[in-house]
Amino acid sequence: MLAYIVRRTAYGFVVVLGVLLLLFALFFLYAEPIEMARRAVGEKAPPEVLEQWVVNHGYDKPTWWNSESPGDTMLVDHFRSMLTFDFGRSDADDSPILERIRAGMGPSLSLTLPIFTVGVLLGVGLSLFVAYFRETYIDRMGVVLCVLGMSLSILLYIIGGQFLIGKMLRWFPISGFDASPAVMLRFLALPVLVGLAEGLGGSIRFYRTVFIEETGRDYVRTARAKGCGDGRIMARHVLHNAMIPILTRVVVSIPFLFTGSLLLESFFGIPGLGSMMVDAIHGNDFATLRAMVYIGALLFIAAQILTDIAYTLVDPRVRLA
């Protein structure tokens, strides 16, 4: 077990290095610094201004190898700054990136955590319900509804939610954010609802497939033959056995906790990491983008290692060696 964790973590680190290499290739080899400067400052800016921008951001060093001082290259800088979380300043407005990430995490989590937890619980619960009624019209209706839900663009969920609940019914404010808890709840209600509705169709359909597959297994027949009721079979036997695919799907959505929802945040005016990303896109802020992609990957890799360990808790057959 310990050997597995050590090996898995080591591999995780290698993947992190792979991610960094990929980012380097993207941001410094493919997109040359002068090109970034042109996008950041403007196409028509005079060459001196562009040069100055490049120098200011420290993008003027040799890419691979510096014969005068070997450590002073773009490559080394990139790896060093990323691995030490010293992300420097934004390409767009010179604000310190790490500070902004710290500030954005709170609002992002306050939006994504409820969506994530309620979403998983609701998804699993409703799909258990649908799977319980498999081969009946409730199940068929459920599947059709899920497909309908999955076919709508998130843009429409947001626009629809804002229009219907915010504007017509006036239950909640259309957008905005406030750090004080009571007000924040009012502001968060609508985006959380929209986020939940958007994800529900896909997750119910996925979990339903998992549950239906499990209910066809031999051990379910055994449980039935010993006198188990359908409800008990679902809750005690099927749910537990379905934990591995459920866990796997849950982990995939963990990076979303951090990156926040780009669309929800910017539509609803929540000053989180998603908004920050949107700003970075509009401001051609490559430094922020690079840092965000890196941190997202880092969290995802960590989450994957944790799930592997969690598998051993839910499934006694999984022995990590």
Partner: protein, 336 residues
Amino acid sequence: MSAAIEGSPNACEPLLRVEGLRTWFPIRAGILQRTVGNVRAVDNIDFEVAAGETLALVGESGCGKTTVGRSLLRLVEPQAGRVLFDGVDLCTLSKRELIPYRSDIQIVFQDPMASLDPRMRVRDAIAEGMRSFGIGANAAERTERVAALLERVQLDPAWMSRYPHEFSGGQRQRLCIARALAVEPRLIVCDEATSALDVSIQAQILNLLRDLQQDLGLAYLFITHDLGVVRYLADRVAVMYVGEIVEQGPTEQIFERPSHPYTQGLLSAIPSTDPGRRGISARVIGDVPSPANPPDGCRFHPRCPQAFERCGRERPPTYFAGEGSSRCFLSDPAAG
């Protein structure tokens, strides 16, 4: 039967001789995934199959009999030992050198569902081997041969453009036999070829195999756990237990005068359909040990009703007596 004949050194040599065959699968663990042990699927076995003869390799699940079959064809790579086919050691050949010899040994698998490519028409499946060995000059000639083969295995040649899923289990097994016959092999490894079939269908396939042997002089290595089939079909029997051959001999001898306690236990556990003979005995107790961690001494001793102190200490050698051999101290002629 092309290239092998050239290499044939003398006529007395059996068609297939296996010496000291060993196929282990490594078990890896730890941070660096070092090999910490081996699954001793096939552990140093010897046997021979003469031309036109049927040798049955019998044993319970996990004893390594299937791995023997696949090692012969090098579908899994053996670690050590020699597989002499017509005097040529197949294990020393490179993959490329092996190809011409592949037509000599063919294999029929247990699961008729998994043995045929579901997306390939029967004609193409049977002709595939002919193409790789250049049998049949052109497509038309190969189709003609496919028709003949289908007839040979008692299927309607008109069905050759159908897909495997349109056939029943027994019919699919006939198709697999036809596919093997297409490249004119001299030895067919039947890996539990009739185990998945119903009794009435099994009888049809066994009769077919017997007819083919008489007509074409085929040799069979018949891998099975069903002793009833063995008694009906085999000339000689080799009994496997946890990677080793524990007893070998002519079929009559094995069934009438088994000398190894494992063979005796195995035979006494087969239920008969004769209503006058009822009451099998569960002489062999407990479960088959894992080939990853076989017991010391005689591998059968923890389950053996006749085990004594020496059995747990020492590994019995193979004692030869007459046409048979047994790996048990009780068979030691010196001990009387």
